[in-house]
């Protein structure tokens, strides 16, 4: 499986990942952080799909399967996240993660 133009893919998915991470680092709003995580997650999914196209059949299929699984998984994760957001909001009245620094040295 030589000749695979890895570079341009990496540019794209790498960019997605970077965007996600950047958001995760800079945002203070829990919801936005969740979104950022999703963006980053999509970089991974994109990789699988893309590589699957070049992989031998069996592996290729598994690659697409994995992509699908991951999409589902991402959804669950977000759900859990939202649950926590709600609870947090109920207690603290805010979803600004920067204000939750009770646990520290």
């Amino acid at each position: 499986m030589t000749g695979l133009p890895v570079a341009d893919l990496l540019v794209l998915s790498g960019a997605l990942l970077a965007v996600g991470i950047f958001g995760l680092l800079t945002r203070r709003n829990f919801i936005l952080i969740l979104i950022a995580v999703e963006v980053a997650m999509n970089a991974t999914i994109l990789n699988f799909v893309y590589f699957a196209a070049f992989a031998p059949t069996a592996a290729g299929l598994s690659g697409q399967a994995i992509a699908v699984v991951l999409i589902g998984f991402a959804a669950t994760e977000v759900a859990v996240g939202l649950a926590i957001v709600l609870a947090l909001n109920r207690i603290k009245g805010t979803i600004n993660v920067a204000q939750a620094t009770e646990l520290r040295e």
Binding site: L25, V97, A98, T101, R104, E105
Partner: protein
């Protein structure tokens, strides 16, 4: 003690016999290198002329002092302690005399030392007594340490070869009267032997209070007078001389050693006498005289006449003990030791004054008293050796001069104490003789002081001395051979007495004119040449200062480093904890930083290291 006396007497009657028995005290494992079949340190007894001589002294004087103590000490507290320690001392002293090898000798040597330590400190409530005891222990300790080194050298280098009987692989038992070890030493060994000899000298100097380790003996007078008489006049201090004697007889000294010994002895004889000249304390005067007399003995031994030295030791023991006991009964009677407060005791204390007079005459070397014969022998013997080394001269002269001083200071003391018609200090209680238990020893000792010297004319005694010397160098001269020499020494003695009479006789008190140049000399002498001051300075300022400094370093530098380390860790820890902000985005930042770090490791650091290590 009686047994000891019998042994001694028996030896007297049949001179030159040896009784030797021993058993292994300590067996050290052998090692391929040094001692192929190991070493046994043995403990045994050896009775030979030398030991017999000293044994006689120990037993007789010991017995008399015990007797005397009954009267002298009767109102003291802690008598059980006193007698226990005294008996222990006598036992140890006997052991020392009878021991048949250097190690055993050292064991008892230390034991008598500690006994003297306790007895000096008998009145331990008195700070002066306590500190005197300390001083005695430490100063002698210095000598002991050197002695120990001497033992090592002999033991290590000369214990596996040598004459039959002694120096066997099982330690260094004295060779029984055979030729001393010296001739056997080869050239290379002789330097070591010289060193060893010097070490022995050091030990002897410590015990016998020879210069420069003499400071402790005068202070030791803090102990009861009986103790001074027994330990610090007759027996223990003589042990140093005895050590030199047996060493020279059984091992032998190199000529260098001999010179050193002569030097120490001669110088000390004079040096101590000068200090005795001015001292107001009756006991200390006698103490200084002891040092000086010991100097004579050392001188004799150094010159190669071990037995002559011991002969003087023998006589000296009696008259010096006599002097002390006499002084003791004076102190007992009027409760002061200050000569200048005394006076006119001749009337009230006839026995005592007579005893002191006899002792003084003996010490001054006036014939026919004991001191004359032995001292005269010493001088004669040394004189006969002057040829062997030019450097003998000055010390011979010093010793000779000391004769004059001796006579002077002892009679100064006698006149101050006994002449005149009343005590200078009226407050003193009226003097009277002590109980009979105190007088009898005085009488007996006086008798000895008169006749002990004459023993030399007993054939047995002569034979004893002759055999004792074994095959040692020169057969010593006995009796007044060189009349001129004797004449001079006696003359000096008489002159000294005369001077003493002129200055102090009949209750006169001679006051040195203030403007006299001698004042400064007197001051120096009174301060004992500032030796004690110097030693205290070294001990207290220097050593203690150093140790204080060391303590400081220990606490704040060495341990400080440890605690510093703790602090460093602590601060690092706190620094790291500050990173734990609690803000989740910071944590996410750390994760990303970590990710980048991992990339750096994977892509840059690791390959670099691998290329360095060559496949890891």
């Amino acid at each position: 003690m009686v047994l000891g006396l019998l042994i001694a007497v028996g030896e007297m009657l049949s001179p030159g016999t040896y009784v030797n028995s021993q058993f292994t005290w300590l067996h050290l494992a052998g090692s391929p290198g040094t001692f192929p079949n190991g070493v046994s340190l043995v403990v045994g007894t050896l009775v030979d002329p030398l030991s017999a001589l000293l044994l006689l002294v120990v037993t007789v004087v010991g017995f008399l002092v015990m007797l005397y103590s009954i009267g002298y000490m009767h109102q003291d507290r802690g008598l059980p302690r006193y007698y226990a320690e005294l008996s222990l001392f006598l036992a140890a002293m006997t052991g020392l005399v009878l021991s048949n090898n250097l190690l055993e000798f050292f064991l008892f040597w230390e034991l008598v030392g500690v006994c003297s330590y306790f007895l000096i400190g008998f009145y331990y409530e008195k700070p002066s007594a306590a500190s005197a005891a300390k001083e005695a222990f430490l100063v002698t300790r210095i000598g002991d340490v050197l002695f120990l080194l001497g033992i090592f050298i002999y033991f290590y280098h000369f214990s596996t070869v040598g004459p039959s009987g002694g120096w066997a692989a099982n330690g260094f038992v004295f060779a029984n009267g055979t030729a001393p070890y010296l001739p056997v030493v080869s050239g290379s060994g002789s330097t070591l032997l010289t060193v060893a000899g010097l070490m022995i000298l050091g030990g002897a100097a410590g015990k016998s209070a020879q210069f420069p380790l003499h400071v402790w003996l005068p202070d030791a007078m803090e102990g009861p007078t009986t103790v001074s008489a027994l330990i610090h006049a007759a027996t223990m201090v003589a042990a140093g001389v005895y050590l030199l004697a047996i060493t020279s007889v059984f091992i032998g000294f190199t000529s260098t050693d001999q010179l050193a010994i002569v030097a120490i002895g001669g110088f000390t004889a004079f040096f101590a006498a000068t200090m005795a000249v001015v001292h107001p304390d009756i006991k200390r005067v006698i103490a200084y005289s002891t040092i000086s007399q010991l100097g004579y003995m050392v001188l004799a031994v150094g010159a190669g006449f071990a037995m002559v030295g011991l002969y003087h030791l023998f006589t000296h023991a009696f008259f010096k003990a006599l002097l002390f006991l006499a002084a003791g009964s004076v102190i007992h009677a009027i409760g002061t030791q200050d000569l200048f407060k005394m006076g006119g005791l001749r009337k009230s204390m006839r026995v005592t004054s007579a005893a002191f007079l006899i002792g003084g005459l003996a010490l001054a070397g006036i014939p026919p008293f004991a001191g004359f014969w032995s001292k005269d022998d010493i001088l004669g013997a040394v004189y006969s050796q002057l040829g062997s080394h030019p450097l003998y001269w000055p010390f011979f002269l010093l010793a000779f001069a000391a004769v004059f001083l001796t006579a002077y200071y002892i009679f100064r003391a006698w006149f101050l104490a006994f002449s005149g018609d009343h005590t200078r200090d009226p407050t003193l209680p009226h003097a009277h003789e002590g109980p009979w238990v105190m007088q009898v020893p005085l009488v007996i000792l006086s008798a000895f002081a008169v006749v002990a010297g004459l023993f030399i004319f007993l054939p047995n005694f002569q034979a004893l001395l002759l055999n004792g010397a074994g095959a040692t160098g020169i057969p010593p001269v006995y009796g007044p051979t060189d009349l001129a020499l004797s004449g001079i020494s006696v003359g000096l003695g008489v002159a000294g007495i005369g001077l003493a009479y002129w200055l102090w006789g009949n209750g006169r008190v001679y006051a040195l004119p203030e403007d006299s140049p001698l004042q400064s000399v007197r001051k120096v002498l009174l301060h004992r040449y500032y030796f004690k001051v110097a030693y205290d300075w070294v001990g207290l300022r220097l050593v203690y200062g150093i140790s204080r400094g060391a303590d400081f370093v220990d606490r704040y530098v060495i341990d400080g480093t440890v605690r510093g380390l703790e602090r460093v860790f602590g601060s690092v820890s706190n620094g790291l904890r500050r990173a734990q902000t609690g803000a989740v985005s910071d944590y996410a930042g750390y994760v990303i930083a970590g990710l980048l770090g991992v990339f750096v490791l994977l892509l840059i650091v690791a390959p670099y290291l691998l290329s360095k290590m060559g496949g890891g």
